[in-house]
Subunit: 261 residues, 6 copies
């Protein structure tokens, strides 16, 4: 799988400007639209290592900053991934930050204002971030109904870059580049995804991401029938409701028609 | 009990294609339709060990990836079953993954995208999965009313194979193969199960699985009366409501009639 | 107190057939109808030790399978009662299994299907059950309104034996055998219990068990007045509502009348 | 303060019969009606030590049966008060048992049926209760609206003795015996309590116990004005609602009138 | 700041009588009316040290009675503040006892009845309180809407002393004595507080305490404008609702008028 | 970024008077209006170090006062940041105190009344605050709908200083001083913020802070288009609702117009 990044709008430029000004960045957009890829791409472009932390309900601030651990009978402080990233001047990427508990995020406050400092209360240590350190967070605002929401005061600490799916032609190029599938097949898979994304608002499910198109193309390259691959990778994850699944299958069959199924 | 696997549709082929393309697989379908058996079968077919993890509410990410343990006064990292499976290039099977807490599943993200990497934050170790490693999950979408649901973004990380009960003739063959009961008895037990599965939507209970037919056949082989065995193994687990139980017993008696009860 | 078991229907035979076929058994029925006694009786009959575990909300899977414990500075694995029972080929009896948390029951899955294997993930050990090992669970389906319910897929792993109170004559024999009270007194106590059990559906309380009749008979043998003993052992545990208690006392007085109160 | 026990009905006789027959006893009745005193009295009468355990939400089964504790680097089992009581053949008294979590009570099951055995799963020890061991529980059924309720199957394990306040004359004798206050004053305090207890159902508060009469009498003996003492010890704990308090004060003033206030 | 106590009614006399009779005391009344001051005053008067414990949701019984702690590899019992107070014959003051979890209060039962004994179950120690030990609790019944309430049976264990704000003249004297502000200013501040307390029932907020008057006077002594001081110390803590704040400011301005603002 | 503080009203004077009188201070006002800056400014002005603690749900009292830690096999007490601040006579600043659990705040009671003392119950130590120690808390009352609220009795322990945004001219000066952006651009950014703050009540979102204006100016200085910078830093954090975002963008475009976009 190649590492080429396909830019959609001006997100690369704004990201770099934020990096130069030491402003933390918040990426928003639907699942699989390329947020993680952008961060990895910027890491390469800016020459900084990327430390990725998948956020979840159970992530404590100790998981971020570190903890005391017993070694040889003694207690020794061990840096967590955030502390390590600050000290190394890395890009620290908190994926799906909305999933984290608010209290775990409190430790980020002093890193995201003019102080740019991490206070390790338990270790009694104060770490000032070097100029190269950058904090990036991401979340999917489509989960608007979620009980959890980022506090407005937290969101205001970031420059926010809104991302979205690539335009169809670019998306098909990505599918070809990552799987080696024939371009017409990739185009039909994208057409299928676009049709479902358009129907999405009525059906209330997460729209299919570029990732599932890549997966379907992989199975096709490996010998699977196109409709079977689309069924397993694009349609089945969307809904387990029989009637909806039937409707989706009709859309998919229509979009894939003409390709040598 | 034999280990023969009776394939229902194209699930063996798609599973193998996903394995070759390093795409994780999600199995869906009713209880006892053969999901666990498929995974064990594919492990034999592909020559990979299978590591099974039954998911539940209390499963922490430490239970999956490992933890530090005190040995001889020192603290030593001990791999969990997921880490062990990644390192060994095994098939790691998360049974009933919908039961797991979402935060425990976050550790799977980097394993199920192009990174195919397990980050052991606490151990400070990064494990890249070998080509042979495969992640398989399963759940029963009939528990639709459950408070827990898999996040759409999680489901999109997998190729989904929808499974169902075997056709009646194949199912009766399985019952005979696993218990040695006479074919006509197996056929009547299957007929009984099919009748109840058909009535299921009205009654709102989990339909009887192939497993309970095997159990009933085992008791019959051991000398139990057919209706008593069906009562204990097929009917009693379905409902404790008196009226429903009586209705079910009538269905069962009709289906089993003709056999030498 | 004697250990004689009074069989009500065919439960002893079905239990033994399940044991021979290595099928786990689920006992259902009202409190005090003899479920625990049946298990103890079968243990003697089949020559297997019985390990009883009272289930409750706070029972962890570690309480079942075992845990690491610090001894002399080192950490040593200690088998829990379930692991001990599997290794010893015992009958392991989980009393009131519906009270247990679902996650604690997940460890039973691999023991109750064709694998008959206990995976000790934390100890890194795999224990295959010998032919003599048997798992028995029990619960009272009358607690239908409970928030907790056994998952249907869990219930389908067992042959279910529905139990109930003994017929009145057998129940009176039990009361005599266990307490030495005169038969006419035992009969009146049973008549009293039957009357209340009949009235139960209107009153919505747990019907009186054989156990409370034995207790009342014990106090009577020890010199208590019959109505006072019935009041303390049969009526008072049923309800604390004044009006209902008065009604019950009238029923009891009528049933006990004629005996030398 | 003297230790004389004033018996209200036949509770001493029934308690002793239950002790002789090894039947556990459940005491019910309003706060301060003498449940704890009865248990202490029976301990002296039967020559058994009394181990009292105040139940509450946070009481674990380890608090009852014991736990492993680190001493000198090693881990040593330490008996809890219940285990100690079983081994010593004591009367173990669980005060306000309805406050305990159900799971903590599960450990009592095997002690309260024919087994009379305590299973210390974690210590791997089995303790059979000697004939002198007795389990006594108490609770106040007036807390009927509580979210917590004892399970019926738990209540059926006990002979239940319903207790209530002493008749007025006896109660006044108790107040005199415990404080040395003049009998007419004690009688007026009791009259005041009886009037409030009668009004209680309309007001929905816990009726005043014998204990508060004793406390009020103590303050009076120490020089307090009678109405001030009644206000502080009898009225103020009942309600903080101004209107209700005024009504209660009128009742009290009327009942205490004639005494030399 | 002086330590003079200004008595409002007969609370000093009743407190002392309760101390002589070893009756525990419950203080009730609004925030800042002098409950803590009374306890400190009585400690000086009776010659007993005062141990103050601020109650809260997270206070465990171990925080009260003590716990085992590791020292030099061994485990040593360490008395908590309650145990220390019992042994020292101190006055133990549980401030805002209604905030404590009920289970933490269970340990007080045996200290507040005729036993006057602290059972340290975990340490296996029994501590009888000396005659000089006294338990005092306090709470504010105005928080009537709180989800937490003291159990009636708990309240009946105490002689309850209801306290309230001092009469205006006494309150102004206190403000002068504690801050050195001129009497007319103190009187206007008190007038302002009384006006707001009267309006309180309509506004549903906690009335201003003597403490906030003292604080306002302190700022005035330090050079602040009177209205600014009243705004910061008396009005701002009451409400953050704009309309209400404006109304309060008018009341304050009227009451303070005439003083040299 | 400079450290100049721009005073809005009389908050510096009142803060200093409170410091001289040892009165704790509560700062209220919207996010980003300068509360943290004021505390840092006062620390410089009064010559005291500032210890900042970001409050959150998971902050325990041990995190504030300290805990025992194992070092070299022994257990040693380690002061927390609050204890350190008290001993050092520092200004201790609890940011967003409303986020803290009430029980964690109980430890502040004795520090915020005439006692000015910190009781370290677990360490058995009593720390009297030196005259230079000052406690400052802050919260945003606009989160009025929050489930959490500070208890009135807690709020009355502080002199409350209400803060707000700077007047537009001062705010533009701050943006220039901190970023070096041209004054007309800063003025347009402020005009944009003021317009949105005015519209805020209808839209129900947190108004844009001075901080987001500074961030937008930073990106502009770094070469970003003005509207793109305003979009990323001012508009995007406010709302993810498409319709609202469009409305906001119109407002922003109008306010920024005339600047060389």
């Amino acid at each position: 799988m190649t590492e080429t990044y396909f830019s959609a709008r001006d997100e690369v430029m704004l990201f770099e400007q934020a990096f130069r000004q030491r402003v933390p960045v918040m990426l928003t957009g639907p699942t699989g639209c390329g947020k993680t890829r952008l961060v990895e791409h910027m890491g390469l472009l800016l020459g900084r290592p990327v430390v990725t932390i998948s956020c979840h309900d159970d992530l404590t601030s100790s998981d971020l900053v570190g903890r005391f651990m017993v070694t040889g009978g003694d207690v020794v402080w061990t840096d967590g991934p955030l502390t390590w990233a600050v000290k190394a001047g890395a890009i620290c990427y908190l994926d799906e930050v909305v999933e984290a508990r608010h209290d775990s995020l409190a430790v980020l406050h002093s890193l995201t204002d003019h102080r740019r400092t991490l206070y390790l209360d338990r270790a009694g240590e104060v770490v000032r971030a070097p100029a190269e350190f950058m904090l990036v967070c991401s979340y999917n605002p489509a989960y608007r109904s979620s009980l959890k929401e980022l506090k407005p005061s937290f969101r205001q600490r970031f420059a926010t870059l809104s991302m979205n799916y690539l335009p169809p032609d670019r998306e098909a190029e990505v599918v070809v580049a990552e799987t080696g599938v024939a371009l017409p097949v990739a185009q039909r898979l994208v057409r299928c995804a676009v049709a479902i994304r358009t129907a999405q608002e009525a059906f209330h499910f997460e729209p299919p991401s570029t990732r599932v198109l890549v997966t379907a193309a992989q199975l096709i390259v490996s010998g699977a029938m196109k409709l079977a691959a689309a069924d397993a990778c694009i349609l089945a994850p969307l809904s387990t409701d029989g009637a909806i699944s039937d409707g989706l299958r009709e859309i998919a069959a229509a979009c894939l028609a003409g390709a040598d199924i």
